[in-house]
């Protein structure tokens, strides 16, 4: 993934993309809303406020039970979870500068905490079923977070001396091992997986709120939004604390950081633990929303997807990472299907020799990782600092292939990191989509 000098051929398409993104910015600048250019609304703290307001209002859009708004709410729950994951990975990769390719491990641990904590029974190693007391969902959030955090330390401790590629490989291995362990021990029913019991309804003065009503996803949506906002606020607090400064310092110069009194071991372990902690929260929330999990549904693809969200949005930048997660996850769980179906339908009825008829045989779902890969490569070539870059990262990357001033489409976002960011979070993750079973079937048909 090393940054390559774009070749002549590449430079023509990169120029094309730049022109396109430039066009977006011009459009934002020229389109007026209430006397102001649109870009004014998507810059700095205004963006945070607007995003939060939009996120709060979204479920209030009048809707029938089967409308797209309800499926958008489900998709947004998944988006909120992925925002948590991306923010958590950002602590490790963005703040402390430690490349973690196995982040899915903590998501798994959070997910299994939720499932095992609500399922009511477990196997022993002989395959005999035992009753297990169940715990309320609200308690399982911190429990899942703490267990994941402890595993973060267990992973971090032996890898502290490793850097760069070596650290990436060890973490990658950890991310592969954890799901396989769950698949091979009978306690949580091995490869079959386990189903969580979804959060119980709560009685309030205004009535009973159910988190499982298939015709009203708003309660769970707000729950996931609230957790995502809390995680976001936590990330802001950490970033500007002495711990946050120590992370930047070790990223910049470990020796100088130590000589200034920063304990390297503690500071790095803290990044691993807090990143894992947030990953655990994401797992609990996700499994509460989408209760069936199978261990092999948690694949490397999730680690990579979350990493791409971080890179796309801007390593180290909280608003950037939120946007990265929003864009990719919404694309994944909402837009892709809505592109796929019409394309298939329109080409299936078209004559076989019609131009582009081949698209009838293309399942965009199976191309998802390819599309992500292209996005990632394009970002690294065109805008390595991300969509909404962190000010410090932009400095670090300056002259290493950053787009020339004033060329990038999103240049106006670069005020970045002004205030609270808003947003959304949550995720869906139907495990089957990662098992490859779907694409196999597709392949045989075609």
């Amino acid at each position: 993934m090393a940054t390559q000098t774009p070749s002549k051929a590449a430079s023509s398409w990169t120029a094309g993309i730049r022109r396109g993104t430039d066009g977006i910015r011009r459009w934002l600048n020229e389109t007026m809303l209430a006397g102001r250019p649109l870009i004014w609304y998507v810059t700095g703290w205004r963006f945070a406020v607007i995003a939060l307001v939009v996120a709060i209002l979204l479920p209030l859009v009048p809707t029938s039970a089967y409308s797209d708004i309800q499926s958008l709410l489900v998709a947004m729950i998944s988006v909120f979870v992925y925002i948590m994951l991306a923010l958590g990975l950002n602590i490790v990769v963005g703040y402390a500068g430690l490349l973690d390719l196995g982040y899915v491990a903590f998501f798994v641990i959070g997910s299994y905490t939720m499932a095992a904590g609500t399922y009511g029974s477990i196997n022993d190693f002989a395959g005999k079923l035992h009753d297990l007391p169940t715990l309320p969902f609200i308690l399982l959030i911190p429990i899942g977070a703490f267990i994941a955090g402890i595993f973060g330390i267990l992973l971090g401790a032996p890898t502290l001396r490793l850097r760069g590629d070596y650290l990436a490989i060890v973490t990658l291995g950890f991310g592969e091992i954890v799901p396989v362990v769950f698949a091979n021990i009978p306690i949580f029913f091995g490869q079959t997986g386990i189903s969580a019991t979804q959060p119980a309804p709560i009685t309030t003065p205004v009535g009973i709120i159910s988190f499982t009503d298939p015709f009203n996803h708003a309660p769970f949506y707000y729950l996931a939004l609230a957790v995502a906002v809390l995680v976001t606020l936590g990330c802001y607090a950490l970033r500007s604390s002495s711990i946050g400064r120590a992370w930047v310092a070790i990223r910049e110069d470990e020796t100088a950081a130590e000589a200034s009194g920063v304990n390297l071991t503690r500071t790095k372990l803290l990044a691993f633990a807090l990143g894992a902690f947030v990953g655990g929260i994401g797992g609990v929330i996700n499994t509460a929303a989408f209760p069936s999990i199978t261990p092999l549904g948690f694949s490397f693809a999730i680690s990579i997807t979350v990493l791409i969200m971080v890179v796309l949005g801007g390593i180290g930048s909280i608003p950037g990472v939120i946007i990265g997660a929003l864009v990719l996850r919404l694309f994944d769980v909402f837009l892709l299907q809505r592109i796929n179906d019409p394309v298939h339908q329109s080409f299936l009825v078209a004559p076989v020799n019609a131009p582009l008829h081949v698209l009838a045989n293309v399942d965009f779902n199976t191309l998802k990782l390819l599309i992500y890969g292209i996005v990632l490569v394009a970002m690294i070539l065109l805008r390595p600092q991300g969509l909404i870059p962190d000010a410090r990262r932009r400095r670090e990357l300056k002259g290493v292939g950053a787009a020339p001033e004033g060329v990038s489409a999103v240049g106006a976002f670069e005020q970045e990191e002004a205030g609270m960011s808003a947003a959304t979070t949550a995720d869906v993750l139907d495990p089957s989509e990662y098992t490859g079973a779907g694409s196999d079937a597709q392949g045989r048909e075609g």
Partner: protein
């Protein structure tokens, strides 16, 4: 300046208690013995210089004192406790601080942030304080910021005005100053300065000499100094040790060092003579 040097030199603190005592220090890198049985005894309040040709092992002595390397052999007693083998941050907590020969600032942090990192050991480092911004945490951060500005103010109002500049954008002399301000953040007793005037012109060097003397006075510091410019070391040091090929070949007050045959041969002879 001449007068200041005279007053600084008059009590050479020879009778003060030991602050840093190094006995039989050895540091090997593979087959190379970079430091070979060095003894040093630095008294409270001294400005103590280590000189010697390039590659003599001076920086290595600093690196061992500050915990970057574990010594192959020997003792390092700071204020009576053995610090050899401790982690760098533990040594900082005990009161030893340093600057680097090649200036190691956090380039993509602001001047203020750099100096704040220097106060890391004095700030609450627990996650709960950081996450919930408890009152004591906020107070500590506010105090740290005020202190950082005071420390920059040691070098004059001009440095305070640079506080929001990124460290990478500073001039060379300013970078040296920020590194010292950062090093002061841990409230040290002993400061190690590795060639603090390297790369400076005459005016900047004269300025540096003044602030090294002020550091000792205003912060009650003991200073261990590596310095190539002999007009600097001879002027401000209470005592000087000379290293050559990892061994201490001479030690004494500046006048003794200037006359020492072995020093003239090993060091001064190879370089320009002392004026």
């Amino acid at each position: 300046m001449a007068q200041e040097q005279a007053t600084a030199n008059s009590p050479t603190h020879d009778q003060a208690p030991s602050l840093l005592q190094i006995n039989g220090l050895v540091q090997r890198f593979g087959g190379l013995t970079a430091v070979d049985g060095v003894d040093l005894d630095i008294r409270k309040g001294q400005i103590y210089s280590v000189i010697g040709p390039n590659g003599a092992g001076k920086t290595t002595v600093f690196n061992v004192i500050t915990g970057i390397y574990k010594p192959s052999a020997g003792q390092i007693l700071f204020d009576g406790t053995q610090v050899a083998g401790m982690k760098p941050d533990q040594i900082v907590r005990r009161g030893i601080t340093r600057t680097f020969q090649n200036i190691r600032l956090f380039n993509n942090m602001t001047v203020l942030e750099n100096v704040l990192v220097g106060q890391h050991t004095r700030l609450p480092g627990d996650v709960v304080s950081a996450l919930f911004r408890l009152p004591n945490y906020r107070r500590a951060e506010r105090r740290a910021e005020q202190r950082a500005i005071e420390l920059l103010g040691f070098f004059g109002q001009g440095m305070i005005e640079r506080k929001d500049e990124y460290a990478a954008n500073l001039s060379y002399a300013e970078r040296r100053r920020v590194e010292i301000a950062r090093a002061l953040g841990s409230s040290p007793k002993l400061m190690l300065l590795d060639e603090p005037t390297a790369g400076m012109n005459d005016a900047e060097t004269a300025d540096a000499v003044q602030y090294i003397q002020r550091l000792r006075r205003e912060f009650n510091l003991t200073i261990l100094l590596i310095e190539h410019k002999l007009q600097v070391t001879m002027g401000i040091s209470d005592r000087i040790a000379v290293l050559d090929y990892g061994k201490k070949i001479a030690e004494g007050v500046p006048a003794e060092i200037q006359r020492n045959e072995r020093v003239i041969e090993a060091y001064l002879g190879r370089k320009a003579a002392v004026e």
